[in-house]
């Protein structure tokens, strides 16, 4: 096993590797940020369903899990991947979320113009996802495992060929908010394994 500081080659040995103090601080800081954003993401979801009306938010409400281009939920095998790969997937998802959240925000500005707190949370979520994604990429770079090459920007609305009704738009927004919560929570868990003294 390499004894190089900051290596992610052997995730089982992470806790025993003596990380540089600044790197350790960075990881702790990013983990704290992810923890905070997980709470915010939960609040966003609650605020969102409240403004869409029932059955959104009712127990047992199970809309179709619509596919969202460029982003999907963490796979069941995510936790079994090496830490570096998990963090790369986290960073990629966090980079894909902001334009999706922006689109939901614009749609909700039309559907719920008198819901300033919801609109503010959606705008904040896009910024927070960018910030957390950048922080995760910085951690990866410091650990010698940089994130993958950035993907090309998705097509803009000018080339959109899909027009959706209001109900599908509400469902899609719920899906995006759900994905945001899933990925910040997943990132918090993955970073937790790097925090010295955290779970292996």
């Amino acid at each position: 096993m390499s004894r190089r500081e900051g290596s992610l080659e052997d995730p089982q040995a992470d806790s025993s590797v003596s990380l540089l103090p600044h790197l350790e601080a960075k990881i702790r800081q990013t983990h704290s940020l992810a923890h905070l954003l997980t709470k915010y993401a939960e609040q966003l979801l609650q605020e969102y369903v409240q403004h869409q009306g029932d059955p959104f938010g009712l127990p047992g409400f199970s809309p179709p899990r619509l596919p969202v281009a460029g982003l999907s939920s963490p796979t069941p095998t995510h936790a079994a991947l090496p830490v570096a790969e998990r963090l790369r997937l986290d960073a990629a998802a966090l980079a894909a979320l902001p334009p999706l959240l922006d689109a939901v925000s614009r749609r909700q500005a039309e559907l719920n113009p008198r819901a300033p707190r919801l609109l503010r949370r959606l705008e904040d979520a896009a910024r927070q996802a960018r910030a957390l994604g950048a922080a995760v990429e910085a951690v990866l770079a410091a650990l010698g495992a940089p994130a993958r090459e950035p993907r090309p920007e998705p097509p803009t609305a000018a080339t959109a060929t899909v027009a959706a009704g209001v109900f599908p738009a509400k469902v899609l927004g719920l899906r995006v908010c759900g994905l945001y919560r899933e990925w910040v929570s997943r990132t918090e868990g993955d970073l937790g394994q790097l925090v010295p003294g955290g779970p292996a």
């Binding site: 029932d54 059955p55 027009a163």
Partner: protein
């Protein structure tokens, strides 16, 4: 929402939603290849209807394998299952719904009408917008802070309850020329208000009105015509100080500064003072304070803390004939009257003059006249209100009952003048 009695025919005003970005691909019900799942489409999509109207909707199922059946489908509205008697199977793949006498939408994002498969899964949805067209906004009132801006407030028609998102737009233009302008800063002093921060003309009237618009129509208020100079308000008077008047137990002196923002515009000011005892919510108002920056409150309780506020009304700006608009009250300033064993009478609410100031009460008015006469006929140059107040303080301190006594000061006896000064008669 639905009811048994049929209502008027539905008015469906559809507004096509903007397309979502391609990256947000999905149309609810898009079939997944090889999944064998059914999808559906509800018609109409996102209709707008009047309260009390009816709706006929259909849910058409299609999917893989073909020949999907409408049997077993059901409807929910805002999460509640609709009675089966409201539905009927039109054909093998279509379930119809009839809703009558619709109530106003429960949320502004629209009521959620959903078509479910037998197992409860969601096949399709449509959002209903049920409400009323806006009524005419009214009661527009506007004011200008120091002639620099204009803020207007209005009341929405029908108290604003249209059950639909209603947009209000404040418009204004110069009365005899110019184009329509739209106010841009909304909700500055409440939900139905707008602020115009700059570029306003003086000495020429404006026409102002409010337009209300929602999915079902629009309405326009009456036009308000005003000149900015006639609706001016200003800041509350700064530097309000409240202090004791020597040892006088029933008086406090209030001083303030004229609001500086309008000092160059040659206006007269009216002031109002209000004051209350510390542990009371009842304010007493003194409202005959014209164009002066000090006042004395009299008839107060001794040994009591009072809170005092002052506000200003500018009028006569540039020759305007109209009174202005009262400013906000100044921040409360507190002071206490001196303590005494004797209790004064109830607060009078009058504004007593300070030394040398014109009298505003009957006793002091007469005293002023007498002092003036004395000065003229008895050559008593050192007589003044200040001397009178000192005498009062001395009287209270000594706790003596008022008796007639001779005073002989530096006042030479004038012909016809009374030889004796009778303080108790003053």
């Amino acid at each position: 929402m639905p009811a048994g009695r049929p209502g008027p025919a539905a008015q469906c005003a559809r507004r096509p939603p903007p397309p979502l970005p391609l990256l947000l691909f999905c149309v609810l019900g898009a079939p997944r290849a090889g999944s064998g799942s059914h999808t559906a489409v509800i018609s109409p999509q996102d209709p707008t209807l009047l309260i009390g109207s009816s709706l006929q909707a259909t849910c058409s199922v299609h999917g893989d394998p073909p020949g999907a059946t409408a049997e077993g489908l059901y409807w929910t509205l805002n999460g509640r299952r609709l009675p089966p008697e409201l539905s009927r199977v039109l054909n093998a793949s279509t379930l119809a719904l009839a809703l009558a006498n619709l109530n106003g939408s429960r949320q502004q994002s629209g009521d959620n009408l959903v078509c479910h498969a037998r197992d409860g899964s969601i096949l399709a949805g449509s959002c209903l917008y049920v409400g009323l067209p806006p009524e005419k906004p009214f009661n527009i009132s506007c004011w200008s802070k120091n002639m620099k801006d204009l803020t207007c407030r209005w009341t929405p028609g029908a108290h604003g309850e249209t059950f639909l998102h209603t947009n209000y737009s404040l418009k204004y233009k110069l009365r005899w020329y110019g184009q329509d302008n739209t106010c841009e800063e909304y909700h500055t002093v409440g939900p139905h208000s707008c602020h115009i921060p700059k570029d306003l003309a003086l000495f020429t009237p404006y026409e102002i009105w409010v337009e209300a618009t929602n999915r079902l129509g629009s309405a326009r208020s009456d036009v308000l015509t005003l000149d900015i100079l006639d609706v001016v308000t200003t800041d509350p008077p700064p530097d309000v100080h409240v202090s004791r008047v020597g040892g006088l137990e029933d008086q406090l002196s209030v001083r303030w500064v004229s609001p500086p923002a309008l000092k160059d515009f040659l206006f007269q000011a009216k002031y109002q003072i209000r004051y209350r005892v510390e542990d009371s919510v009842d304010w007493k108002v003194v409202d005959d304070v014209s164009n002066q920056t000090s006042c004395r409150l009299a008839g107060l309780k001794p040994g009591t803390v009072y809170f005092v506020q002052v506000r200003c009304n500018p009028f006569g700006i540039y020759g305007s004939k109209k009174a202005g608009i009262w400013s906000e009250w100044s921040h409360p300033t507190a002071a206490s009257t001196p303590r005494s064993a004797e209790r004064a009478g109830p607060g009078g609410g009058a504004c007593e003059p300070r030394s040398g100031e014109p009298s505003s009460g009957p006793v002091r008015r007469e005293l002023k006249q007498f002092l003036g006469w004395l000065k003229k006929h008895a050559y008593c140059s050192n007589l003044s209100f200040r001397l009178y107040d000192q005498w009062r303080a001395w009287m209270q301190k000594s706790h003596k009952t008022r008796n007639q006594h001779r005073t002989r000061g530096s006042c030479p006896r004038a012909d016809g003048a009374r030889r004796e000064v009778l303080p108790d008669k003053l």
